[in-house]
Amino acid sequence: MRRNIGGGLLASACLGAIILAAVLAPWLAPLPPDLQEDVAGARYLPPLTRAQALRLSSDRVRVLTSLRATPAGWMGVRNGRREEFTASEVLGAPAPRFYLLGTDSLGRDLTSRLLFGTRHTLVITALSAILATFLGVAVGAVAGLGGRRWDDSLMRGVDVLRCMPRLLLVLVCASLFPPSTLLLVLILGATTWTGLARILRGQMRVLARSDLAAAARASGASPLRVALRHLLPQATPLLTVNAALRLADIILLESALSLLGIAAPPPAVSLGGVMASGSDALSGAWWIAAWPGLLIAGMVFALRSTGARFLRLPDPPSVA
């Protein structure tokens, strides 16, 4: 049964574009992602706002909309109020600001934050998925090929871990150590590998009895070589699809954890973090939460349909 969730080529193209944007974030972002030029003046500006940043002689910056030159200096609207500055107060010419996606509660440009957030989220999820795949392959292969004793003890352990309340595991891990990106990767990776271990164990058990394994053994290959060079490569399609689906799940998990306050500390910015910060300002500034959510949905959709293109899955990952 194919686990096709539509899309296809378009989804893969979307995914490529998102990854490209994340890689090029430092060059694409109009402003630094944590730049708070003028908290009072620039906060909660809706999408597509054009504004100007004035540098004052007191070295403060004022972000003003509908700025125009007056005989005395400059006049514009800041935070709903009209403000005037004499020419002597202002240093240099006003710098144009275009907030394509709006600004957040601290006057930071959301376009830049989302670009860097995508980058951070992709790095975190990729590292976590690599860790989860590594753990799942190691445990699954040893359990599937290592004989009855290894199989029993490892799979009982996996069963126990699968029955653990995941949130408890995550929260306790998070409270043990100071928050960091590394910790988040470890938590996300260490709590998402058990499904793969079970699937891989099943496949390895079948493969171990196949002619393929018998031929490799007959040609004198050591058990380790049989496992690494002959049997594990057979699982490549499975691993590819599983990695794509795992990435999608981890992106969703990361965003949920952000809402619960488990995230890499600032200045690191993730999509989930931006979205969680928007939940407080929902009534006034819908755009803070809206964009990261749509971006996450796009990434998850693209990853799942790209994964589905690769092969037929025996079952939904959680059941198998």
């Binding site: 049964m1 194919r2 686990r3 096709n4 969730i5 539509g6 899309g7 009982r156 069963d159 126990v160 699968r162 029955c163 653990m164 309340p165 949130l167 408890l168 595991l169 929260l171 306790v172 409270s175 043990l176 999608a248 969703l252 965003s255 949920a256 809402l259 619960l260 989930g272 979205m275 928007g278 939940s279 929902l282 009534s283 819908w286 939460a289 809206a290 959510g293 996450i296 949905a297 796009g298 998850v300 959709f301 799942r304 349909s305 079952d315 939904p316 959680s318 059941v319």
Partner: protein, 315 residues
């Protein structure tokens, strides 16, 4: 069945150790006027927290047999009582949502599969894929924004209005349903999308089978083929999914319960962990683990009921 007991024992032991390892001490009091240094010791003793690890572990294990889960540090009430209250609230929310997930998902999946790449199929598949990809709490926020902030039709959070006690029972019921609507919808839609895609794939793969060709050759209508012949084959994996969903019904969706301030199991467990309320954390973990084990057991039993061959394979 025989593996369930040691499995539970293992899970509970691990949870117990995990909670011991976690840093922070719920009885460490800030020095303040009127609080003596011995207050900490007194409290610790009152809650039985000053006994050695092994003794507490044995006590705790014994507690499960007699149904005594201890007293919560923060609420100062029996844990079993707290869990019963929160569990009821969660069953209402998550139980209804799970029911809707499977009904909506199966219906949409069948309609899509029956339409065979027609526009109904395209529309439903697209919609399901979208719903399945959305983070559930983003959907929750979007619903709050639309129905509460913009339109003002439905309340933002909590289970009841503040003044609910002053009104008639009918008013209270309507009030409760209004509070239930948004979290329930946010919990239902993403999973329903996933189930719809899944049912569609299952039924379509069944439609390619020889028995479907035979049915067509006998002149059976297309609708009956989808509903009576293909759906039956797709039921087995669906039953498995349902077994896996069972822990969620009582374990609750933490994120949505936190977002909507719904006083259920997920929120209770979350707050318990944050407060390092040891008996409450352990109690919540106990309920969740029992449900996971029960869910997979139930899935096994239901599979052999739906398809007698499945029982032979697992035996």
């Amino acid at each position: 069945m025989m593996t369930a007991v040691p499995l539970l024992l293992g899970v509970l032991t691990l949870v117990f150790l995990l909670v011991q390892v976690a840093p922070g001490d719920p009885f460490r009091l800030e020095p303040a006027a009127g609080v003596s240094g011995s207050a900490q010791r007194t409290l610790r003793h009152a809650f039985d927290a000053d006994r050695p690890l092994a003794a507490r572990y044995l006590d705790w294990m014994k507690g499960f047999l007699v149904g005594d889960l201890g007293v919560s540090f923060t609420y100062r009430r029996p844990v079993s009582e707290l869990i019963r209250e929160a569990g009821t609230n969660t069953i209402v929310l998550a139980g209804l949502a799970t029911l809707l997930q499977f009904l909506l998902g199966t219906a949409a999946g069948l309609a899509a599969a029956g339409s065979r790449r027609g526009w109904v199929d395209r529309f439903l598949t697209g919609l399901s894929s979208l719903a399945y990809s959305l983070p559930s709490f983003w959907l929750g926020m979007a619903l709050v924004w639309l129905f509460s902030v913009r339109l003002g039709w439905l309340p933002v959070s909590q289970m009841h209005s503040v003044d609910a006690a002053e009104h008639s029972p009918v008013w209270r019921l309507v009030d409760f349903l209004r509070h239930l609507a948004l979290p329930c919808l946010a919990l239902t839609l993403p999973a329903a999308g996933g189930i719809a895609l899944y049912v569609r794939e299952e039924v379509r793969s069944q439609l390619g089978g020889a028995f479907v060709q035979a049915a067509r050759a006998r002149g059976i209508g297309e609708k009956a083929i989808v509903m009576r012949h293909s759906l039956r084959g797709a039921l087995l994996p669906l039953v498995n999914l349902f077994g896996l969903a069972l822990p969620g019904i009582l374990g609750g969706s933490v994120v949505l319960e936190v977002l909507f301030a719904w006083p259920g199991m997920g929120r209770l467990a979350y707050q318990a962990v944050l407060a390092k309320d040891e008996p409450l954390v352990l109690g919540c973990a106990w309920v969740t683990s029992v449900l996971v084990v029960a869910g997979s057991l139930m899935a096994d039993l239901m599979s052999s009921w739906v398809d007698p061959r499945a029982g032979e394979e697992t035996a």
